[in-house]
Symmetry: none
Subunit: 173 residues, 4 copies
């Protein structure tokens, strides 16, 4: 998807059509216009993302492992769908400020899912003594922020992320 790599505005409908090996009017036959096509692509990307999220194993040895799984999964998704992940992380400002906010809506929904997921792990971990007593919501929120940052950094190759995993200053236990 050119939208992810080039951005919505800098991608022309002609380029889109050429990439898909069809003619421009055909794009307009299937989708209603550029905006609709973008919405469609975005929702498709998020749909794929959500479906991957749902694959996460419900039960693992530890709650900590669940969180690790979540992070690893994001890296995997990025490797598997190198074209769609940018769309999810990029969030072109013009689209983000769009009042109708199909973009913002999905981002918030995805965010909420991950927050809930992590909070669940934290609650369970605290309950069973795996974690010490941390404020679950705020901690989950922060971990999401960290996760987003990690994915973005990887997408834009801003720096190597090697060694980060085992070097983390986090200690939930």
């Amino acid at each position: 998807m050119l939208f992810g790599t080039t951005g919505f505005d800098a991608t022309t409908t002609l380029e889109i059509a050429k990439e898909a090996d069809v003619t421009e009017p055909l794009v307009y036959y299937h989708f209603k216009g550029k905006d609709k096509l973008f919405t469609h692509s975005l929702e498709l990307a998020f749909k794929g993302y959500f479906s991957r999220l749902r694959e996460l194993p419900e039960h693992t040895a530890t709650e900590f492992q669940k969180i690790v799984n979540l992070i690893i999964l994001h890296f995997k998704i990025e490797d598997d769908l190198p074209e769609q992940m940018p769309m999810i992380v990029t969030t072109s400002p013009a689209k983000l400020h769009d009042p109708k906010g199909i973009c913002l809506k999905n981002i918030k929904r995805a965010r909420q899912f991950v927050v809930n997921y992590i909070r669940g792990c934290l609650h369970a971990g605290i309950k069973n003594g795996e974690f010490r007593k941390v404020p679950a919501s705020a901690t989950a929120n922060m971990l999401v922020v960290l996760l987003n940052g990690l994915v973005r950094q990887r997408v834009y190759q801003l720096s190597e992320s090697k060694g980060m995993k085992d070097a983390s200053p986090f200690s939930l236990s």
Copy 2:
């Protein structure tokens, strides 16, 4: 700056001129074109950002306080310069992928500054026993990612960041 809120491509030179209450050709008289104007604005934003970073107190009671100061400063900058911060965090994909990369260059430079700053704190804190022995580089890197994520979240108002400070799962000590 419209570039930050609307994005480079979706911002027309006419809008820019109107916002500045001048005519379009005048923009081309002072700057050479839209690209040059963008570069100028971006460098101005980063210049302001860097100048604020340099204000950070060299010596504080604890090394932890220095890190906290860094984060608080970013929030302050965002409050003080609500127009420039988006430019720093937005990173339009088209511009980010530009190999010549005035945009990417600044982002990496800023990133490096903050990484170095935090790593310095960590090293010092570990030396004087304030922190336990964490891998400084990797930890600094991760904290930067977290910081970036926090700022982005705030700029785009993706969620409230209340309570995050004292609820942090971090424990460097």
Copy 3:
């Protein structure tokens, strides 16, 4: 063609489109841009010119008649294609100085054709005793210059050319 009468730079794409009774973007759909359109028009004009040149009768009573035919043909072409001849003779300075020179290339090619044609006549005429022994190349060159001048003068209506034919100071015999 406006290019011929108005010149390349003074002809706007809008005028061109209006003259052709189409919209401006359509011009850009069929041709790539103003320059390409000019090139196309120029080559079309020269193509027509060359095709007319090829119509010249191979054999005539005298070699002198062949030369006269050549000159008369040029006047005919000018009458038949009043829009294209200016393009061939006008040679806008900007275009002429272009090193890549689609314009210059055609002009030189046309020139060469005519020079060769005349030189052929001269050689043959000298051989069969119709002409006295003149230096064929230099004479042909000069006659081309004269021909060009005549056509130009006619295109720009700089003066009447009546009576020139039978009043010529030339004497090849």
Copy 4:
């Protein structure tokens, strides 16, 4: 003069000012505008041209020599004033079709001068038996056309003009 090499339309007032090492408004202070400046330059060029024409020796050994002198003078002028001659020969179509015709006016005036000059030579030459009896006006006209063509050819370097002089098929005697 950029007008001659680049053409009126393709020459900007800024370029003109820079070439003259002054600022743009100063050009407007001294001349009224681009058109007026062009007119001025053109008239200057023609003035210089006419002044050179007046230098032609009134009396020479033969009338033929006078005509030869005229041609040689044109080549000299071109060598001496490489910037102004193009203005005289180029005759941008847009300017030529201008009804007010400062351009056309000068060209016709120059043309008339040369025609008269040559016709005078012819008349005198015929009278004193130097030339055989050719129709003076028509012959003069044709020689002007040839002269124009020669100069143009030289300005645009369309071909070498070597050997043309002594190879001429002309014979006035």
